[in-house]
């Protein structure tokens, strides 16, 4: 198996942090600001940042549509925070995103800023028994103005929960987290995504 090629959507947000974590997890990394840069990718991370900003920057070059098309052809996707919002099939309190194309494909209902303002941001230790390696150490998850998953479809598998709410989920070739695994030195989720991306590699 060759090294998976994974892109990081680089319109705005925590791009360098994801790139660093992906390299540590053994991927070949590039940044994506244009549809042509999606060619040949086995996976794409849509990072945290402001979903409103990303949706507006993507619109003139039809980047969200191109990501959806590449995903249908086999490219894996991992959305964190704003990235998860852009992948969710349904968003509550989404006025600021109305009229803008999103990626979609993840059968969840998400509420933006579900925990409140920055004063409500927090760090919580998550149990992640299902991740490769079976490491019992909790994953320190950084939640920043995080979205809340209000409900999920039957095909969505819960990978981690915080206070009985799902905060990391997988549906086929889509991985999503409402927190920021790129901000901590624990790269287990990135490793998991690199593995998912490698499974999809078409020679």
């Amino acid at each position: 198996m060759s090294t998976p090629r994974i892109g990081v959507l680089a319109l705005q947000g925590a791009v360098a942090e994801h790139a660093r974590a992906l390299r540590a997890a053994g991927a070949e990394v590039s940044t994506v600001r244009r549809p042509s840069e999606l060619q040949g990718l086995d996976g794409l991370i849509v990072p945290g940042g402001e979903s409103t900003t990303m949706a507006r920057l993507a619109a003139p070059v039809r980047l969200m549509e191109s990501i959806r098309e590449r995903h249908a052809e086999g490219m894996a996707m991992f959305g964190t925070c704003a990235g998860m919002i852009l992948m969710a099939d349904q968003i509550l309190d989404a006025e600021a995103l109305n009229g803008f194309e999103r990626i979609g494909g993840l059968d969840v209902v998400v509420r933006r800023n579900g925990y409140g303002s920055q004063l409500e941001s927090f760090i919580g230790p998550l149990q992640v028994p299902g991740l490769p390696g079976d490491d019992p150490t909790p994953l320190e998850a950084v939640f920043i103005r995080a979205p809340v998953i209000e409900s999920l479809g039957v095909d969505v598998e819960v990978i981690a929960s915080w206070q009985d709410r799902p905060v990391a989920v997988r549906q086929g070739r889509i991985l999503a987290a409402s927190f920021h695994p790129e901000l901590t030195p624990d790269h287990r989720l990135h490793q998991y995504f690199v593995e998912i991306s490698a499974e999809q590699t078409v020679s």
């Binding site: 680089a10 942090e17 409103t52 900003t53 507006r56 303002s117 920055q118 901590t184």
Partner: protein, 303 residues
């Protein structure tokens, strides 16, 4: 809640990973000064990553003169209600009660800002006492490190606010970059003197020398008025830009705001920046910093 151990960026600072982390989410973005709910809406619609809620933009503070203070809480909460992106607001340098009020209002970030009249000519706010994050201005590395030591989670180079003249912003980012580069070239036993000269803690100086970058996000502010200005700051290595008077003091705020957002993302693509620069109408009139008498230079406030 203990957060220090989980952060790889805030090791030697008083800041926590959730607070330095919010600044990391703003990277590659534009933060815009707004004075009304309508302007806040225009800013969000143009793709701003955050807005700075204030009563008067720096250009008007200059024009009006007098003491500039924290804005009316009604204005700030109105803007918080209006938009879904983070809202920042300014407190005077050293005015910890204005900061307490802003924290109570649940702003997402406090800017301890030289644009307002300083409340303390010796001390800055002890930002480590607050849960809400702070951004502070700096003209050089020593100043940035002192603010980080006090608990700032984000630094913006000061530039000269309210002028539309980008030359001071350029000077400050070049100074900070140059001083960081110099630290990385020093022998370990030379860092003690470097810390003394920078008037900053040795542990933090040593960390910068090792990593070659600030432990928090660095935005550029003060004088950015065009897409080209923003793109130049990004090419200089800024993590993002603040645009104060440059947008709503121009002829066509909505289009100029969107153009600056675009130029900030595609900062290294002259074709996109050229396209974004077309047909924006009149830029803010501006003042040459060289024509400003020393007492009216805001960047010199802060110690």
């Amino acid at each position: 809640m203990t957060t220090e151990s989980t952060s790889h960026t805030a090791a030697a600072t008083g800041a926590t990973a959730v607070n330095t982390g919010l600044a990391q989410m703003l990277k590659g973005g534009v933060i815009m000064d707004v004075v009304t709910r309508e302007q806040a809406r225009i800013a969000e619609d143009a793709g701003a990553v955050a807005v700075m809620a204030l009563e008067r933009v720096p250009a008007d503070i200059r024009a009006t003169g007098g003491v500039a203070r924290m804005s009316d809480p009604d204005l700030i909460t109105g803007i918080i209600d209006e938009v879904s992106i983070p809202v920042m607001a300014k407190a005077r340098i050293g005015h910890f009660v204005e900061a307490q009020i802003l924290e109570h209002l649940k702003v997402d970030y406090i800017d301890e800002s030289e644009v307002l009249s300083p409340a303390d000519f010796t001390h800055h706010i002890d930002k480590s006492k607050f849960k809400v994050p702070f951004v502070c201005g700096a003209t050089n590395l020593g100043e940035a490190l002192r603010r980080i030591t006090e608990g700032a989670s984000m630094i913006r180079s000061k530039g000269e606010a309210g002028t539309g003249d980008v030359s001071e912003a350029m000077k400050h980012i070049r100074t900070i970059n140059g001083e960081i580069a110099r630290l990385t070239s020093l022998a370990e036993d030379e860092l003690y003197l470097a810390a003394k000269e920078l008037q900053a803690p040795y542990a933090l100086v040593k960390q910068i020398a090792r990593e070659g970058r600030l432990p928090v996000v660095l935005f550029v502010a003060g004088g950015v008025a065009t897409p080209a200005d923003a793109a130049m700051m990004m090419q200089m290595g800024a993590d993002g830009v603040f645009v104060g008077s440059g947008i709503f003091k121009s002829g066509n705020p909505a289009e100029r705001a969107a153009a600056i957002v675009k130029a900030t993302t595609y900062y290294d693509d002259a074709g996109v920046v050229a396209e974004a620069s077309k047909g924006l109408g009149e830029a803010m009139v501006g003042i040459n910093v060289a024509d400003l008498p020393a007492p009216h230079r805001l960047a010199e406030r802060g110690w």
